[in-house]
Amino acid sequence: MKNKRQKNSTKPRQSWTFDEYTNSEIRRAAETGIYDIRGGGSKRKLPHFDDLLFLGASMSRYPLEGYREKCSTDVILGTRYAKKPIELKIPITIAGMSFGALSGPAKEALGRGASIAGTSTTTGDGGMTKEERGQSKTLVYQLLPSRYGMNPDDLRKADAIEVVIGQGAKPGGGGMLLGQKISDRVAEMRTLPKGVDQRSACRHPDWTGPDDLAIKITELREITQWKVPIFVKIAGARPYYDTALAVKAGADVVVLDGMQGGTAATQEVFIENVGQPTLACIRPAVDALQDLNVHREVQLIISGGIRNGADVSKALALGADAVSIGSAAMIAIGDNDPKWEKEYNRIGSTAGAYDDWHEGNDPAGISTQDPKLMKRLDPKKAGKKLSNYLKVMTLEAQTIARACGKNDLHNLEPEDLCALTVEAAAMARVPLAGTNWIPGSDQKNNLT
């Protein structure tokens, strides 16, 4: 039959509101009766570092010679109270990713790569593995609400302790590891029966609120004899007040994770609808540190969507002392590599979009506990890739800093930046490109 479409009929129009993805999610929910669980961070388009540009040097600022003049990158974390602060060669650390979510070899690869590049890695929900402690020169040990695998022997082996209050992907939510990934080893480290769905608590079992936290930190310092720095990790929820309270509770370092920050697994609705974008969190946190007169004394580590040296330098320019990466580190060691495309297709995904990490079927052998898949990752080769990537990021950040005339990445400042959008200008508090307008700067109380 011939197409009866009239000459002037309108084209079929997809709804902006009910787009393809939304509709597929409605159908999936209707069929399965359970919310969508996935890994990764927010996938929607958010105001981000891409919306900022560096101005570079000009008549009034002179640049530094690219390969000749020094541009320092090292950073010391934990100078406030710890007897042994951490010294890193680069201001990019590897964020906490749990053993359980990631395989043993993947943790080992992170440790190897970070050590070559002169930076630290962080344990995660599920405790300290010998693979990671063995390879990671500087290891941060997380104290999470679940306390899986937490023990004083490992605590004393750590180079720093990170009290986790929240994660950007799920401020106010706990961890999740579904039965498929609870292998014998994971179960044993977590003191759980094999194969149960494990939902970590969202609050610490033995403290609530900043006054208690101060006492908790004292206890941790007593156990570790005031040697190692204590980090406090918060989600990008209320960055001004949360940072101020972490400082008040005695943190040496505040780790602030915006909503683009990855997670091993949680509800999609949580990832996409709770928390603030990383870009929106930095200035309020720095305000808090400055108001309390501890900026640079209490170091600020920013995470959530850091991908390259430009992101690093922008975060530092806004006042961070260092950044931390999770997702990018996974990609560097081989996560979502198109070489596994056929296998991604087989499990209903595609390279670059694969995020069902909780199911444990990762073709790249990283977010899995399946012995066969795990073998696909060579921790030495993967570690080398991570160190290459970290070095490139550092070089990129140095390139930008030199172009702005800075001999230390930490000398970058908001003054070096402009914004491409009104939103980014307001969040980063830098002028909209081509103007001297900083939206919101006329408001006295800019706190969040």
Binding site: T32, G33, I34, S146, R147, M150, N151, P152, D153, L155, L178, G179, R190, T191, L192, P193, G195, V196, D197, A201, P205, D206, W207, D212, I215, K216, T218, E219, E222, I223, T224, Q225, W226
Partner: protein, 231 residues
């Protein structure tokens, strides 16, 4: 520091007192110590490692005996929040009452409380044995993973909510049970364990036959949408 009379909060700091107990010089052949005037200080005896006995003459604040390994700590008074949190081994005996979250996430060893324990006693416990001669508050044994909680008195609301493999023995009555916590049949093995705990706690007034047993129905171990109202 180093002299025993200095384990006195009127004369010395928390750091010095803990440091002394954390680094015992065994050449001196002393294994018994007394702490005076604790006055509710926090983190007393946190992170002890050795097989020593410490007697604390008075009330203690938060996290007394936190992460304890091997030490035998007696508190002649009341204890604040998080007594023996994440303890690995050893013994903590409180002669008075204890506040919230006693024995939280503790992996091993034994905690004895002569009085009552407040809410969330044994929260997320991972293998410790807790003996409470009085009653416990609400949400006790919340998400408790392993180990035994023996309660001679009653329990507040939502006992054993979302419990995993911890076993609860109680002589009195729980005000209510939490999600997935159910009464279980007492076996011979249970009676032996109860007698063992009564013995450790030097409890003679109550017979093991008086206790009921509660544990996980294991219905929430794997997510099912039809159980969603339970979560």
């Amino acid at each position: 520091m180093g002299k025993l009379e200095n384990l006195d909060f009127k004369k010395n700091s928390l750091r010095n007192i803990n440091n002394f107990l954390q680094n015992i010089d065994f050449k001196k052949n002393l294994r018994e110590f007394v702490i005076r005037n604790p006055s509710g200080n926090h983190a007393i005896c946190a992170g002890l490692k050795e097989d020593i006995s410490v007697n604390i003459k008075g009330h203690v604040g938060y996290y007394c005996g936190g992460m304890n390994q091997n030490a035998n700590i007696t508190i002649e008074g009341n204890a604040g929040t998080g007594l023996g949190e994440n303890m690995m081994s050893g013994l903590i005996h409180v002669k008075g009452n204890v506040s919230q979250s006693a024995g939280a996430t503790a992996h091993g060893g034994t905690i004895i409380v002569d009085g009552n324990a407040s809410s969330r006693c044994g929260i997320s416990m991972k293998g410790v044995d807790i003996i409470i001669k009085g009653s416990v508050g609400h949400m006790s044994a919340f998400m408790a993973q392993s180990g035994t909680l023996l309660i001679c008195g009653d329990a507040g609301e939502a006992l054993g909510d979302s419990i995993y493999e911890t076993v609860i023995y109680i002589a009195g009555t729980p005000k209510s049970l939490g999600a997935d916590c159910v009464e279980k049949k007492i076996t011979k093995k249970d009676l032996i364990k109860i007698d063992e705990l009564l013995n450790i706690g030097k409890i003679k007034k109550i017979k093991s036959s008086k206790f009921k047993k509660y544990g996980s129905a294991r219905k929430l171990y794997n997510f099912k949408i039809d159980n969603v109202s339970e979560y």
